[in-house]
């Protein structure tokens, strides 16, 4: 295809990605380097017979002028990244010096929003992903062992948790585990403890969110693995059976190697999706005990009266950096494949 035709065909697609994905990333970075102008404050001294009194007032005109001159705010360098909302270098150094053990140090670290969000996001990502892979594989093998008539209904029922809107899905579960909901109330009865609440304890909140994550994403790995199982070469399985391989050995030595590329694909998608976990925290109203990086950005932009653009920008850059680290192995691999293909 000629360059000019290629450009004509792909121009709408490329320009929309450039304008709304590439440029925002750059602008987020620039935004993170600036800080909002301080309001211009006029101090006036009013003197009357009873004494002098100073009043301070915001000079709106001067503030607006300042904002017009430099809409991004004052250049702040990387200070937003190092403040206590983010990496909190000074405070962490202080904590390191004053803590006598590592546990005390991590506890102190947990007080800073970014570290708190990172710890949940990473735990969530690296707990949910393997569970989803493993359980999805088990269900796929299970369905594969059942008569054909079970296949359709199982797939239909499995698709629902995956396809349902994350916020809606988490709300449905949240209402069930609520103290008055069916699961929550039953648990209270079983443990004979009326104050037992999944929302009140940090550990239970984390577990609840991760269970939701597994419920939501397992269908995806199940369906991909199930499709993969249909393509396992039957001759190899038969040959292995004749050679005396047990069912388990057949799975271990024939099926799993065959499904390995699929497992890598699923892992990649799961890592990307789990790293952006956000809606469940809103749905479960879990922000008191569990915050994710995406939730942190949302909070910077939404919670205060004025959006904290610099904080949101800095957190976004940290997130993008995290995604880059997650993706790096895949990118290197694809690049190698591509180079080899071009050689041959």
């Amino acid at each position: 295809m000629k360059h000019s035709t290629f450009l004509l065909f792909s121009l709408p697609s490329l320009s929309v990605m450039f304008l709304f994905i590439a440029i925002p990333i750059v602008s987020v970075f620039i935004q993170s380097l600036h800080i909002e102008h301080k309001q211009v404050i006029i101090v006036t001294e009013n003197c009357d017979p009873f004494g002098c009194e100073t009043t301070t007032a915001v000079d709106t005109e001067a503030s607006a002028k300042l904002k017009e001159k430099a809409p991004l705010g004052k250049f702040n360098g990387f200070k937003t990244y190092s403040n206590r909302m983010h990496f909190a270098f000074d405070e962490v150094g202080e904590a390191w010096k004053s803590s006598d053990s590592f546990t005390v140090f991590t506890k102190k670290l947990y007080n800073y929003p970014l570290y708190r969000a990172l710890s949940f996001t990473l735990t969530y990502t690296f707990v949910v992903t393997p569970f989803v892979l493993f359980l999805g594989f088990l269900v796929a093998v299970g369905v594969n062992n059942l008569p054909k008539m079970f296949k359709g209904p199982t797939i239909f029922a499995s698709l629902l948790p995956m396809i349902v809107t994350p916020l809606v899905g988490s709300l449905i579960l949240f209402w069930m585990v609520d103290g008055d909901g069916v699961i929550g109330a039953t648990l209270q009865k079983i443990f004979n403890d009326n104050s037992l609440s999944l929302k009140a304890s940090p550990v239970l909140t984390w577990i609840m969110l991760m269970v939701y994550g597994i419920w939501h994403l397992m269908p995806f790995s199940f369906i991909v693995f199930y499709a993969g199982l249909q393509t396992v070469p039957q001759e190899t399985i038969e040959a292995a059976t004749i050679d005396g391989a047990s069912k388990f050995q057949r799975i271990r030595h024939v099926v799993i190697p065959h499904l390995m590329p699929l497992a890598i694909f699923i892992t990649l998608i799961l890592l990307m999706d789990n790293f952006r976990v956000f809606e469940p925290i809103i749905g479960f109203r879990a922000e008191a005990h569990a915050t994710s990086i995406s939730w942190l950005i949302w909070n910077h932009l939404r919670e205060s009266a004025y959006p904290l653009y610099n904080a949101a920008g800095a957190t976004s850059m940290v997130t993008i950096f995290g995604v880059a680290i997650l993706l790096l192995p895949v990118l290197i691999r694809t690049w190698r494949d591509f180079k080899e293909k071009n050689k041959g």
């Binding site: 990333i25 062992n145 449905i172 369906i223 694909f265 920008g313 976004s316 993706l327």
Partner: protein, 293 residues
């Protein structure tokens, strides 16, 4: 003989059956429970004393006289004007899917047919863009959108959703077009067609299966989005999912929780039928990406 083997009960088969049945209960029960409960009053759906109230509707009968009540639906759709959100969602979803597919088909075709190195780099950039958490992009949109006075309206949200959707659409359609033999459009070009004519008369008639499958996933992304719609739409232009989220703020009062439950069921129902009708396409779409890597 084959059926005999299939129906034989082996221990492995029994374990498999129990395991799959357990998963089905876990997957389905929350939906059935909530659907059933949405026709009850709050005292039944959130019954601390006895969960069977939610099934038999003890309080529902006492409070409303009937076994089922539509109060939750009436409250959310009429009183809280959920129907507005439904209309907004329809508009956003329709245009997002339409524009995504138009852009994606053209781009995906070009990427599949180009032999130059930049096609690879564009696909790689697409993969990286696909991995970007959407929230990171939002913080970049707000300031310019406020400055240009385009914040809060539906077209802005539609174009942002198209952009966010584009990497996935491109990848999917690119691998679909790779499966259509090159010779097809190239022979048309030998017969004197130019590239656009070849695309128009040879590719377009046969591309619909791939386009529909991709369209289903674009639909899901637009329909399920909370991040973009909650940050970029003003209150009167809210779509369903942010509308449900804003219900949550006001549901503390007695009775209002059922509004949110009814709204949640209303938002899930279309997805139920969506799966019912397009199950095969969804499965093939999920696996197509996987098999081709």
């Amino acid at each position: 003989m084959n059926t005999k083997i299939e129906n034989k009960l082996t221990p492995v088969r029994i374990i498999a059956f129990i395991f799959v049945a357990l998963w089905l209960v876990i997957a389905m029960f929350p939906f059935i429970w909530t659907l059933w409960g949405s026709f009850k009053v709050q005292a039944d759906f959130f019954s601390k004393a006895d969960w069977s109230n939610a099934i038999f509707g003890f309080h529902t009968e006492k409070q409303t006289g009937g076994f089922f009540t539509m109060d939750g639906y009436y409250g959310s759709w009429i009183e809280e004007e959920f129907w507005r959100a439904v209309i907004n969602t329809s508009i956003v979803v329709f245009f997002t899917v339409l524009i995504s597919l138009t852009f994606g088909t053209l781009g995906g075709y070009a990427l599949a047919r180009s032999t130059y190195r930049y096609a690879f780099w564009i696909l790689m950039a697409g993969l990286i863009f696909r991995a970007m958490p959407h929230m990171t992009l939002i913080s970049g949109y707000l300031q310019p959108f406020f400055a240009w006075n385009v914040w809060g309206i539906l077209p802005t949200t539609i174009i942002v959703l198209v952009a966010i959707n584009q990497p996935f659409t491109l990848w999917m359609l690119h691998s679909f077009f790779l499966n259509i033999p090159k010779d097809l459009d190239e022979s048309a070009m030998c017969d004197g067609c130019n590239r656009f004519q070849a695309f128009r008369y040879v590719i377009i008639p046969i591309m619909w299966p791939g386009v529909i499958t991709t369209g289903l996933f674009s639909f899901l992304l637009a329909y399920n989005d909370f991040t973009v719609t909650s940050m970029l739409l003003s209150d009167e232009n809210e779509t369903m999912i942010p509308a449900i989220a804003s219900f949550l703020g006001t549901v503390q009062e007695e009775g209002k929780v059922m509004y949110a439950v009814a709204a949640v069921v209303s938002a899930t129902a279309p997805l139920f039928f969506f799966v019912l009708f397009f199950q095969r396409q969804i499965v093939s779409g999920l696996t197509a990406g996987a098999v081709k890597g």
